[in-house]
Subunit: 328 residues, 4 copies
Amino acid sequence: MSTSSIENIGVFTSGGDAPGMNAAIRAVVRTALYYNIQVTGIRRGYEGMINGDMFLMDRRSVANIVQRGGTILKTARSELFRTPEGRKIAYEQLQKNKVDALVAIGGDGTFTGAKIFGNEFNMPVVGLPGTIDNDLFGTDFTIGYDTAINTAVSAVDKIRDTAESHDRLFIVEVMGRDCGLIALRTGIATGAEAILIPETINSGIESVFARLERGRRHKSSKIIIVAEADEAGGAFEIGDKIKEKYPNYDTRISILGHIQRGGSPTCMDRVLASRVGVAAVEALLDGHRNEMIGLIHNEISYTDFDHAIKHNTEINANFLKIVEILSL
Amino acid sequence: MSTSSIENIGVFTSGGDAPGMNAAIRAVVRTALYYNIQVTGIRRGYEGMINGDMFLMDRRSVANIVQRGGTILKTARSELFRTPEGRKIAYEQLQKNKVDALVAIGGDGTFTGAKIFGNEFNMPVVGLPGTIDNDLFGTDFTIGYDTAINTAVSAVDKIRDTAESHDRLFIVEVMGRDCGLIALRTGIATGAEAILIPETINSGIESVFARLERGRRHKSSKIIIVAEADEAGGAFEIGDKIKEKYPNYDTRISILGHIQRGGSPTCMDRVLASRVGVAAVEALLDGHRNEMIGLIHNEISYTDFDHAIKHNTEINANFLKIVEILSL
Amino acid sequence: MSTSSIENIGVFTSGGDAPGMNAAIRAVVRTALYYNIQVTGIRRGYEGMINGDMFLMDRRSVANIVQRGGTILKTARSELFRTPEGRKIAYEQLQKNKVDALVAIGGDGTFTGAKIFGNEFNMPVVGLPGTIDNDLFGTDFTIGYDTAINTAVSAVDKIRDTAESHDRLFIVEVMGRDCGLIALRTGIATGAEAILIPETINSGIESVFARLERGRRHKSSKIIIVAEADEAGGAFEIGDKIKEKYPNYDTRISILGHIQRGGSPTCMDRVLASRVGVAAVEALLDGHRNEMIGLIHNEISYTDFDHAIKHNTEINANFLKIVEILSL
Amino acid sequence: MSTSSIENIGVFTSGGDAPGMNAAIRAVVRTALYYNIQVTGIRRGYEGMINGDMFLMDRRSVANIVQRGGTILKTARSELFRTPEGRKIAYEQLQKNKVDALVAIGGDGTFTGAKIFGNEFNMPVVGLPGTIDNDLFGTDFTIGYDTAINTAVSAVDKIRDTAESHDRLFIVEVMGRDCGLIALRTGIATGAEAILIPETINSGIESVFARLERGRRHKSSKIIIVAEADEAGGAFEIGDKIKEKYPNYDTRISILGHIQRGGSPTCMDRVLASRVGVAAVEALLDGHRNEMIGLIHNEISYTDFDHAIKHNTEINANFLKIVEILSL
């Protein structure tokens, strides 16, 4: 480690909670202590920063949390932090608590705020990708994604039991507002007959009809996975179209919803969170600033906040072909 | 066993599927074979009976299914069976397949049909309580109920992670159209702040408001469990009222839905299904007719179909007091 | 509630930990507070009582623990408490902390100590059945038993996958030193080909040989469930005998061991723990002394400590016949 | 796809079973049918090949198996196949069934046989990495590894509950005869205090003592993860040494054993199996021979059998440092 003037690292979680955030917090805390640096836990993200809701953490603060879902530091969205006044108060609170560097755990909103704040006050900040959506550039996987897809898969497995028993068609909506990755992997893993994701919206309902026609002879139950689209809920709309076209199908809709955020993190999410958590503290000590610490090809990677939040997840075309082949 | 002229027992599942139905089918098949009686599997309940969709089962037919959700015999609802013509065809199909007695696995609809059919054609019929709703009289628990509440509890545990992380109020709707038993146990087991069930509908929303007021100081997250009421969905309505009264709460709604029906049955459901499955065959051989075989106080019980479907589940008043005390 | 002079209830867990102990602690704490009585948490059972390791608990002390395995109050065995001197110190520590009644959560060792202590110092004491072994008289189920058997069942399900894939015979040892109840239910629920329990030890290995002979034609995989017997491990001995008699079988041994104690409690264990926890405080206030609070036929029951620890669990003979019929 | 003379692909599983093998079989079958090629399922690996235990598969043969542990084609080890005579019979059986290409799912033993066989009879063969050990070169992960480590993690989480409740030290042995990868990830994910793996055997017991000394003040419970070493069981030996050095510790041993092989595969294992299963058939059609189809950096990779089984898994040095930092 290079010499560094960092003496007290603040750590916080922001945006939607994701399984593995606690493992990341634990890694940041223990690594800082390992390098004889103090760690300050900030509650409720930027909101708590503004409110001065922070406390010194020690080894025991993070004992026995590696397996817990949610985040012990809590999370919130902050309107005030979007204003220069809010950020100024936040900075003063950090100064009062002698915090001189930050590790921000969250997604694109979190990093957008972190970047502005780091630049405004010349505060060293790095980020960790904590979101179930896997929609960040600069890491193969985000913390929480693996747990979320396993939760979704396990839920669809249960629905398949009922679908098979009743020869039903189920339309199952999974999370992923702008991004179909959860839907895509869940669909492949559960043997879904069709997958509808924002990235291939053009193929749309007609392709679903085509698949249903083709699979008619072979399948008794059918499951269509849909990525959530908007507040109105894409699954219901698609359900209406299918019921209109195939009135004889026994069609049902299930919105998995919030269960996908919680639960004990998978091994992969805990290991990922632990690795990038250690690396984040070391990165700060090495002089990294305004970067997200991720994992690409099983190696630690450093990506500018600007680049990380560009949202350009690409859907692997092979995946769509795999669905086509396997759901026959 | 008394002497009996029964030589071929037909077994089927009907109504909504429930975890443990496969364990019950297995028990019926193996017990019949143990007593040197043939067993005929009838697919899709009364619908399959009418269509003659049935086959002789042997030991291997039920190998390795004790742990599977759903029902290998499938299930369906049959409009035709409600008519005398439909039942007559069904009877002829059973005769053609030499089936001379029936074990019906399902809920009140299933037993209503079984009773009429048994009387019309003088066919020996007994029933097994297979429904997640636990809404039958004559058994402490129905097959599938324990699995369903554990699935619901595990889902609410995940939601609690998010509720805690965000200081949110969640309204979670669980299954149970006419009956609040799933909601009640799920609520106690997850430490819910309030439970809304049809049986106490009068207490209603005002009591929820009162509880929310009282818990305000102590709790950061809040979970309200609601039994499903009607197609419109009770959770959304309740959510609207709470949002109106407490606009500052971060209120979310989650409908658990169909995931509660599937999944590998719990130990309790498998043991229950095995015990009543064995007892059902022995009951037929002993001359029992038109009875549901259940478990009361850990002993096999026999209840007239008429009595079993009377729907008079009573909510244990102590349970409501427990919620009152524990959710403080 | 009757008037009562109790002002501060001490609560502790003792003996082996069991899932649901935390739900029981929570219920005791919140019920005491509901009746405006103080609650003192005592850490590490009788050992902590002697060491004065205790603290006042409030609502927040038990927030968000209903779903956690283990016990937040920790548990230990205490040699010193077996001596009059040790118990005298314990009593003085309770006096110093103004504790004037106790709720002891544990098994027979816990209750033996509680009875002596209660009598020696005229201290009101009641107990809650917290043990995975289900070996107490006066309650249909003990707290932790349902979780333990579900953990065992889920482990054997996984082993069945391998047994089926390799056509193997597995001997799986489950917990239950003096009592075969875990083995019995696990065996029925997993479709075991044979079950060996202390209560039927005479039938022993010869009956296993007979079953293996009989099942030879039908089954490709075989699973034998054995209750743990002594330190040497019954499963290995049985394995040796089977390997000697059937050298062609591909025989493997698995000791489930300590995983059966942990994990998030099932719905049934949480509800049981909550109900008896509420009832324990109310029982103390109503003047009950030296009794274990259990659940018989779904109603709260009160059993003298002396009677509760008599260990006379009887194996339901029907259960053994069910195994005989179903494993064919 | 290039033109190809392949008309009937044989698929089989061999060696230890691994979760996800069924998903791989399903992908091979459906992809072959998609390209209008017949598929023959061969039961019990090379043993079944010699015995002619094979059958034509269709879409329904692999319906509803993507979520099942084990392998529907069963697996076995074959001594006879190690001889030229055995392999000759196997080839004749394949000819009789018109099988003209093979997909072998298994580990190094499987691929060693496949290579010899493919060369001897000029039979097109490709392999899929199906083993929980992740000890193959040419793929980032093997099918079954992710499920196995999640099973191990979930078991250690349960043990942590007991360790915490009793302030105990647990030595937990996980699978991995020659390879510490399961131990390493399980240890990081569960917050183990020390990890002992074959690759760092030199550091051995002294380093464990050092860690125990250092952690003494901070930790109440301790967990040491050990990779299985030999039949005698490494965990017991290490346990004896620790008990000798630290007689005051309450030390317990748990061998996770066979539960690590079974269970429903994780999302990652299902997606991996599906992707390489599709790619295997396409590889055969494209003229690939004697290669294992894996996934490197999220892209399909092709590795000579010779190279794949070289066993040169390297332990990432960073992983060991992470354990050092996080278990403080």
